[in-house]
Symmetry: C2
Subunit: 406 residues, 2 copies
Amino acid sequence: MTTARNGTRHTGPGPVRLADVATHAGVSPATVSRVLNGNYPVAETTRHRVLRSVQDLGYVTHGPAAALAASSSDLLGVLVNDIADPFFGLLAGAVQQETGTGPDRKLAVVCNTAGAPERELEYLTLLHRQRATAVVLTGGTTEADTLRTALATHLHRLAATGTRIVQCGRPPLPPEHDDDDRPGNNARTGTDHHHRSHPGTGHDGTSHDRTGHDGTGILTVDFAHRNGARRLTEHLTDLGHRRIGCLTGPPGRTTTTQRLAGHRDALTARHPGPDPAADPGRLTVHAAYDRTSGYHGTLELLRRDPHLTAVIAPNDTAALGACAALRDQGLRIPHDVSVAGFDDLPCSADAWPPLTTVRLPLTEAGTLAGRLALGRSPTPPGATVTLPTRLIVRASTAPPPPAHDR
Amino acid sequence: MTTARNGTRHTGPGPVRLADVATHAGVSPATVSRVLNGNYPVAETTRHRVLRSVQDLGYVTHGPAAALAASSSDLLGVLVNDIADPFFGLLAGAVQQETGTGPDRKLAVVCNTAGAPERELEYLTLLHRQRATAVVLTGGTTEADTLRTALATHLHRLAATGTRIVQCGRPPLPPEHDDDDRPGNNARTGTDHHHRSHPGTGHDGTSHDRTGHDGTGILTVDFAHRNGARRLTEHLTDLGHRRIGCLTGPPGRTTTTQRLAGHRDALTARHPGPDPAADPGRLTVHAAYDRTSGYHGTLELLRRDPHLTAVIAPNDTAALGACAALRDQGLRIPHDVSVAGFDDLPCSADAWPPLTTVRLPLTEAGTLAGRLALGRSPTPPGATVTLPTRLIVRASTAPPPPAHDR
DNA sequence: CTGTTAGCGCCTTCAA
DNA sequence: TTGAAGGCGCTAACAG
């Protein structure tokens, strides 16, 4: 009973096209398009008729075709380092919640990079292919020069094509220097055209200019990691701690660096002596953000200084691992050793003992990032917003035990 | 100095098209396409020349255009109930890992439905628009008739357009009955065709047949929830527990129902008496899957029976909340009350005390779902795979205290 | 192996 | 308010 493509009834799994709806409704394709996109006046009667046809036929817009014709897409990418980590879940959820609603809502899709910058690049390419409206990159990132540069290049190119870029939880991108072409470029012709022309007008005839000149509008929502870390360490030193073990993220990552800086800020402020940084170095161990890493990292710290009285973990999850390790060594928390983390995940308050931690405003950050990605919020001054972090003091930190011969 | 679109040099942030690459490389667009898609023989020399041009120009395929022309897409949707829950993170991560690699890799995008079936429908539409290659729906779902039907309809329609559907963590879809049209349908004509025909062949000539006839190939990877729940309760009864509080998921959800069934299976097996189900009913409290719900649900259970000796939670997170509640009531775990959960998240082993739980093979399920979604694995018999669950006994369960007058 | 030629399904000027 | 016509950028037959 399959009527031809233009029959009144459309049958079977075959695709229903806009034209089918038009025929069914007895109008032109243009009208259907206008009804569907609602950005053009259409008579109420016609409107309803078209809508009913859409219903009857079960028509669903062909996204790619629409995107091609309108050169726009309703895709929004969210890149996360670890989708199994509630930190990113909360962040991504907030972005999705913000961007998935309203008339200009987008399909927020989250992509798991597993912390690998290469995967980040891959996904960026994929999203570029799709001509995503915006991309939100969350969490810390590498500081390795090559990768960082590659990423920056990619991002600027993306931004230049009109994709809005929002970084969330990492520092602003270094300013673009377009003094060199990509590797492999020019290799064939041997010609060099490195001149940049008409920088003001924003348009020139030179080669490969994908920078968009003056700020392409890559926005950043960062956390005050350094400040938070400083406060946390201060809290511990205020309590009287001197031997503070510091578990910190993988080396060469922005978050790690920022927090270590804050840690040292606090330490040097308390001990303005000749070599204040020697101690923190010895008592710093790199660990990943999972529980096991927290566990083993803590054991390593104890090996380095069996008398330490506090452990700072890179996040709450690792902090719980640290607690486990300490307990396994027969140490009580916080009686013998204090423990603190970062993030303030919902479960941290319920942990045993309730965790002292530095709260990162995850939901707020995600929401803001989403708003910026959609252009719902104005560009902040300096294209960067730094969200404050807050020290949440709970039962896992206390004054160190009196210095006896433990 | 902007050369025309076909000039050798392409300028500025403007889009670089396939044709530009072709011109630059001195070949035809078709050749470039062939090189890029690698599914057609091209001379090595030409290949390299083209590739270099791609590099030089920084060309990135226009996904929508490609999708339109090839009527295919490299998008794969993963729907999750709560992106902040590691349960889903692990699952989605596994899907992404599996599907993001290889020559036929896809852009796996995860969409957060927040457990609302309406959001699920929305995302389904969005993915339909994009003509996603496949959709993986994870976690339990509603049993409410209207929504379930709407979902089924949607899924069948999607499947009929060639999108592969894989359900993961929920029971198979009810068989499609096409005895009724979509709401709003026929409203105009007043005709009713409620006959269902050729039920065996699954094929009829009636209207709007979007089912794809015999199984459109909606695949299912489910967990043996019921069995797992039964084993867990048996474990508790074996230990001697009689008053077992059961926190279970929200009412009207597949997971909840399946697990309650298992729970009752075990109970009735032990007490084949006249009214074995009376007790489980009274000691069953619906709770969400978060820590707070576990906490409050446990308080409610204690209110109903202050002498209960065990609490089953709907997942590990809620179980930790249950632990907190019990402790706050001065009860020791497992000395006074045993606690158990579901999932076996990585952190459960590290919890205090280490949690007895029913392990769901999350990674395995995600990987399999991914493989099925890509057609990398053959369709299983019955289009359904049920993955076994395993009881992991740890320190949070123990025999109940001797029955004194607590 | 490579070029030429049609569309893919929709949006968007233009003209009516 | 509506219709007609062209093109978005790419792929997939077909020739050569």
